[in-house]
Amino acid sequence: MDKAEILSQLQEIFRDTLDDQEVTLAYETTANDVEGWDSLTHIHLVVSIEKHFKLRFTAKEIQSWKNIGELVEGIISKK
């Protein structure tokens, strides 16, 4: 799966989890850019992403992404 494909699947997961069809993601998107992405929904996002991509992040990884690009890299490195 390439980066663009992961990004597009992430966007679907974000829309579903944040209950907001307007969410648009780019590699440089951060939590501050997305309404509703807070510490609580972060946990929901992580769990949805883990389920979808069938992987498990460590506690350290969950805190480490500064933007969506880093999350995409994180997913690739786990696959």
Partner: protein, 302 residues
């Protein structure tokens, strides 16, 4: 009186801005009574902190530590569908008898009582109706006092002649409750409630957020039935889908709590249910967002 609520929110803002912003947003629908109740308790609480040679900054650090624990517990819960602790013996050893853990956990909870709107909703439900329901009560028992907010409030709202007894499994909880209440009229007992017995029944019994700390909450509800006088009333609250380091029994939905109350031979008079985030019921169900349940209950009429 000092605006402690504002002071705490400002301090939180400097340490965890996004969280503080969310707390403000979540509570901005609440009225002046909320602010004055918060300031009343926090001022009483601060006096205790000062007597212990510490201050609100310490308490805020405790609260943030508790939040970090909760995030870990929540992640595990969503992944595994169950709480991480399974036995009371284990929790008693690792948490209730561990002053370091109990310290930050209890101070964190004390602050949270007026920072989280669902906690305030459960509190105001209690404080608004206690005097009416406890009209003829001559004795008040509290099981699992923790920080002591509920007992503190009951002392203020009930007549002078009412006798007070408090039971908690943790020495630390008894200590902090005693310290905050600072009133010699209360008889404090450190004991697992399952081993507690009394010669007489009580006219009012409070059990806030304790059921989920037991392996079998029905046993406590049956005990409550025995401890409650024939015309006695009890206030009870318990959360659904609320992982915490010391929670053992998972309620998946509110109806399970109602069913247990009924099974124990008790009857709900009035109840309050609040989702702990401002989200729809559908969203709460999907992501197992914690839900707060509180009720006034009485002996089932035969």
């Amino acid at each position: 009186m000092n605006n402690y609520l504002e002071e705490i929110l400002l301090k939180l803002e400097s340490k965890r801005p996004a969280h503080a912003k969310k707390l403000r947003l979540n509570t901005n629908y609440l009225n002046e009574l909320y602010v004055s109740r918060a300031n009343d308790f926090y001022s009483q609480y601060e006096k205790h902190l000062l007597r212990e040679n510490t201050d609100l900054d310490f308490s805020i650090d405790c609260y943030l530590r508790m939040l970090d624990d909760m995030a870990i517990e929540r992640m595990n819960f969503l992944r595994q569908g169950k709480y991480s602790s399974v036995s009371l013996m284990e929790v008693e050893k690792c948490i209730y008898n561990n002053p370091d853990m109990m310290c930050y956990h209890m101070h964190g909870l004390a602050l949270a009582q007026f920072l989280w709107f669902d906690q305030y909703e459960r509190y105001s439900f209690f404080a608004d109706s206690l005097a009416g329901y406890a009209k003829s009560a001559e004795s008040y028992l509290e099981i699992g006092c923790g920080h002591g907010l509920y007992c503190y409030t009951a002392i203020k709202l009930l007549p002078e002649n009412v006798k007070f007894e408090v039971v908690d499994i943790s020495d630390y909880s008894i200590g902090i409750c005693k310290g905050i209440i600072n009133d010699p009229k209360v008889n404090f007992i450190t004991k697992n409630v399952l081993e507690y017995a009394s010669n007489s029944t009580f006219g009012f019994i409070t059990i806030g957020e304790v059921l989920e700390h037991l392996e079998d909450p029905l046993v406590l509800l049956k005990k409550l039935k025995d401890l409650l006088s024939d015309d006695g009333i009890s206030y009870i609250s318990a959360p659904v889908n609320a992982p915490m380091i010391d929670h053992i029994y998972l309620f998946n939905e509110v109806q399970e709590i109602r069913d247990l109350i009924n099974q124990a031979g008790l009857e709900i008079i009035e109840e309050k249910v609040v989702i702990s985030e401002h989200v729809s019921q559908q969203y709460a169900d999907k992501f197992k967002v914690p839900v707060m349940f509180a009720a006034f209950i009485k002996q089932k009429q035969q």
